[in-house]
């Protein structure tokens, strides 16, 4: 529990005095720089730490993506910048194993170091206590550790770039035996081991975070904040934390098993009498597909860890800027829970062509089709929220609408993959890459942009520039589609993913495919460059942005009832909550919004208990 009990900490005198730590007392902010900004136990500082580290990794992952696209459009031609300095002995061309490192690390960084930490780590930490009316997390010290487990992970993953042999190159899914024997890859020696260690620490960090979120949400809600009055953001983060807590141990054990396979020569993932690297040595006794079951048992739920929080935040943003209650609040909560529950029984849809018994494939196909349902419910409810509203095109709202529009594409392409015979053709082609990016970039990343534009004034007390924000959105949206949509087409034409040179194949070496590959690469570079506008806007507004005031968007949830940025202890007095966060445009209310701390007007129509 909190440790910063200084004598002057309880200035305004309410509620403190018992040792039961009722969380309605106020702590003073530590004055020491280190305790205040570095080893802080303040959930807001920790959230911002996660935000900054993920944004840095976003740049790294983005640069790798552009290098990948360069190679696909102009295979083996010297690359700007990198080729000038590297690979003199290869004629300044990128060697194929480096290409494998690029997409391996691009995927790893984007998933484990950008999207998961920014959604759960940054926004989870920053928003949960503020939105439920708490002064901090239940375990502030554990929370500090959950951030400080990450630097180990950063060091391990960055170190893997510079150790001899370079980084991992077995894909972000790291299938053995490619990943579990040193002899299987030429480039990577200890890079793969560092990769495993990095992921282990990232997992430890997530686990500490999720314990904190679950406890905080159950225990520390302010008076009147019933579960069914919490904003969707909090619901989504809560359910995501449950997913993490249940699925992570499986990934952790799988990582440890692979680590043992690599280091002390156990053979969890290689079959009996296995000959390694044409050598005389025979090993084995394990099963290759076991890794896939363990890995996807975590990583399928993990794709929801990467989308549910964004869905929650987008729900709040759409309701605010439609000035209308969220359509079907309770169905939205149940849909979120259903996605999480079903998420545990569909992992096998990544393994339809893996050699797993095809009869199992048939059952996984059915469960996968079912998981599309709650997603469909959500999409319709977002449309229902805007319908009949007063839609304000702020930058946050534009990004939120883009989330919905692009998630529809990502969800629909999932149906092709869920149909097992069609998946036989498109599995491991660019169709899958298109799908991933329509959910992860078109969905999650636009959700993150929406959240940053929306909560930035709360975090830093100033507004980001709306005009620059809209230019950034416009360019990102256009070039995102330019980069990823045609991947569906080249994928359906059979373009495999993870190949350094499509021109090897006759059926890919034609005007259509090479033309599309170039088009996508130009778009990718433009997409990358557009983010400079965002970076400028983000950093310039920290000092030069317009002052925000406590509630610039006229929103209802609790974080907008305190100052921007909030004081160390979040709330002067713990707020009392009277209704859900979506009471916009209530007939009879003075303004078109009604903060959760204000009772419903006497003549307001009664809330429908099923829908709200």
């Amino acid at each position: 529990m909190s440790t910063t009990h200084t004598a002057d900490a309880h200035g305004n005198g309410h509620g403190h005095g018992s040792d039961d730590h009722g969380h309605d007392h106020i702590h003073a902010q530590p004055t020491n720089f280190l305790r205040r900004y570095v080893f802080s136990e303040d959930h807001k500082v920790i959230g911002i730490q996660f935000l900054f580290s993920s944004l840095i990794f976003f740049v790294l992952g983005g640069l790798m993506a552009m290098a990948i696209r360069w190679q696909l459009a102009w295979p083996w031609s010297p690359m700007p910048i990198l080729s000038q300095t590297l690979w003199a002995n290869q004629g300044y061309r990128m060697p194929p194993e480096f290409y494998n490192k690029l997409f391996t690390m691009h995927g790893t960084v984007m998933i484990f170091f950008v999207i998961v930490p920014i959604l759960s780590g940054a926004f989870g930490n920053y928003l949960i206590p503020l939105m439920i009316g708490a002064r901090d997390m239940a375990f502030p010290k554990l929370n500090m550790f959950s951030y400080w487990a990450m630097p180990f992970s950063f060091v391990a993953i960055l170190n893997s770039f510079v150790v001899e042999g370079g980084s991992a190159e077995a894909g972000w899914t790291s299938y053995p035996p490619l990943s579990s024997f040193l002899q299987s890859t030429v480039g990577s020696l200890s890079g793969q081991t560092w990769w495993l260690v990095g992921l282990l620490f990232a997992g430890i960090s997530s686990l500490m975070g999720s314990i904190n979120y679950i406890t905080t949400i159950i225990m520390l809600r302010s008076p009147g904040m019933r579960m069914f009055r919490m904003p969707m953001t909090v619901w989504a983060l809560f359910i995501t934390a449950l997913l993490q807590a249940f699925a992570l141990p499986v990934l952790t054990s799988a990582l440890v098993m692979q680590l043992l396979d690599r280091t002390i020569g156990t053979n969890f993932f290689s079959p009996a009498n296995w000959v390694v690297g044409n050598g005389p040595e025979k090993v084995g006794g394990g099963q290759t597909i076991l890794w896939q079951h363990l890995f996807w048992f975590y990583s399928h739920p993990a794709v929801y860890i990467m989308i549910l929080p964004a869905m929650g935040m987008v729900s709040d943003i759409i309701s605010t800027f439609s000035r209308k209650p969220l359509f079907g609040y309770k169905p939205m909560v149940f849909a979120t829970a259903a996605i999480a529950g079903l998420g545990f029984i569909v992992w096998g849809h990544h393994m339809f062509q893996s050699g797993m018994n095809p009869a199992l494939g048939a059952t996984f196909m059915l469960s996968t089709m079912m998981i599309a349902l709650p997603s469909a419910i959500k999409v319709f409810n977002w449309l229902g929220t805007m319908w009949g509203g007063r839609v304000q095109f702020t930058t946050a709202m534009l990004n939120a609408i883009a989330f919905v529009a692009m998630f529809i594409i990502g969800g629909l392409s999932g149906i092709f993959m869920a149909a097992t015979p069609v998946d036989m053709h498109i599995h491991d082609t660019y169709f899958i890459v298109a799908h991933i990016h329509y959910v992860l970039f078109g969905g999650s990343t636009f959700g993150v942009f929406a959240a940053i534009y929306y909560w930035y004034p709360k975090m830093f007390g100033r507004l980001m520039d709306e005009r620059l924000g809209k230019i950034h959105f416009l360019l990102s949206f256009i070039f995102f589609n330019g980069t990823f949509f045609l991947m569906h087409i080249v994928g359906m034409h059979g373009h495999p993913r993870r190949i350094a040179d499509p021109l090897i194949y006759g059926y890919l070496n034609n005007a259509g495919i090479t033309g599309m590959n170039k088009f996508m690469t130009y778009s990718a570079f433009a997409l990358g460059l557009s983010q400079i506008i965002f970076a400028w806007n983000f950093f310039y507004s920290l000092v030069g942005g317009e002052k925000a005031g406590p509630n610039p968007w006229k929103a209802n949830s609790l974080e907008w009832t305190t100052t921007s940025p909030p004081p160390y202890y979040n709330f002067e007095t713990l707020p009392t909550v009277y209704h859900p966060a979506y009471e916009f445009s209530v007939p009879g209310a003075a303004a078109d919004f009604l903060p959760q701390t204000e009772p419903m007007p006497a003549d307001a129509p009664p809330l429908d208990p099923v829908m709200a």
Binding site: P96, E97, Y99, N100, Y175, P177, L178, S184, G187, P271, T288, P325, F327, Y329, P331, Q353, P358, M369, M370, L373, A376, V379, L383, G384, M386, W387, G388, G389, R390, V391, F393, I401, A402, A405, I408, L412, I415, F416, A419, T420, P421, V422, M424, H425, F477, N481, F485, L486, I489, M492, H493, G494, P496, D501, Y505, Y507, A511, S585, V610, M611
Partner: protein, 267 residues
């Protein structure tokens, strides 16, 4: 600025447009046989294509419908002086409708394609014939072993080739798929066939083709630095006698090479 919905409309038009254009260009559409065309050259491939088109039509209709709703909602209900947002929390009837309708469509797709899946993958559906070959993926080539004149695999007279798959038009062919180091994946794009080759397992795979000609075999599972060039040639022979003639020549060559290789050292 109420023109933002046009941007979302433009993205939807781009998406629909590229799928509408693609059947007119064999470079954009599903891969086909040597003389171009738009459908797969295998019987199972054609069933997969028609499933694909069915799903494309269903998802296309849903896509166009939802995008129209999205563009309309943001256009029609854009903030303007005097607009007042309606106050409602949802509708149970609508929730029920938009749960049941997609559920029905999804269950239909799931059940409709089950038979195709069973016919192509279930071991019990494998044709009861002599195997054409045993194919082993290894870094970075496909090692193919055809039964020799005795018709039995793994005897002294087997024909061993690298990256060279031959079979006869219009006949089911059965292979046994293996891997000798890491996971590879046997992918015949023009036939829509894909199956991972997994260390420790022997997996039967069967296919046919009704057009003679040259095709390509792709490795679809990341298998190391040379993954991108793990390409195989596929030849579909017009008739059994064609195939037998090729087999005879290949066996002769193999014997000559073996003699040549063994000869000098033997002395």
């Amino acid at each position: 600025m109420r023109y933002w919905p046009l941007l979302f409309a433009a993205a939807a038009v781009f998406a629909v447009g590229s799928f509408v254009y693609s059947p007119f260009d064999p470079d954009w559409w599903l891969p086909a046989g040597p003389e171009g065309g738009l459908t797969s050259v295998s019987s199972i491939g054609r069933r997969i294509d028609s499933l694909y088109i069915l799903i494309l039509v269903i998802t296309g209709v849903v896509f166009i419908g939802t995008q129209i709703a999205l563009v309309w909602a943001t256009w029609r209900f854009a903030d303007a002086p005097g607009r007042v947002a309606q106050y409602f929390h949802g509708s149970q009837r609508l929730e029920v409708i938009w749960t049941i309708v997609p559920a029905a469509i999804l269950v239909f797709i799931a059940l409709y394609q089950m038979g195709t899946w069973a016919d192509i993958k279930f071991r019990s559906s494998a044709p009861k014939i002599q195997p054409l070959a045993e194919i082993t993926g290894r870094q970075f080539q496909w090692v193919m072993r055809y039964p020799g004149p005795d018709g039995v695999l793994n005897t002294g007279d087997d024909l061993q080739l690298v990256n060279d798959l031959h079979f006869v038009k219009g006949k089911q062919s059965l292979i046994y798929l293996k891997a000798s180091d890491v996971i590879h994946s046997f992918f015949l794009p023009a036939l829509r066939i894909k199956q991972d080759a997994v260390p420790g397992l022997t997996i039967p795979v069967w296919f046919d083709a009704d057009t003679q000609g040259k095709y390509e075999l792709v490795c679809a599972e990341l298998c190391g630095w040379g993954h991108y060039k793990m390409r195989g040639n596929v030849t579909v022979h017009g008739s059994q006698s064609d195939f037998d003639e090729w087999m005879g020549r290949a066996l002769n060559e193999q014997n000559r090479d073996t003699v040549a290789a063994v000869g000098p050292q033997g002395r």
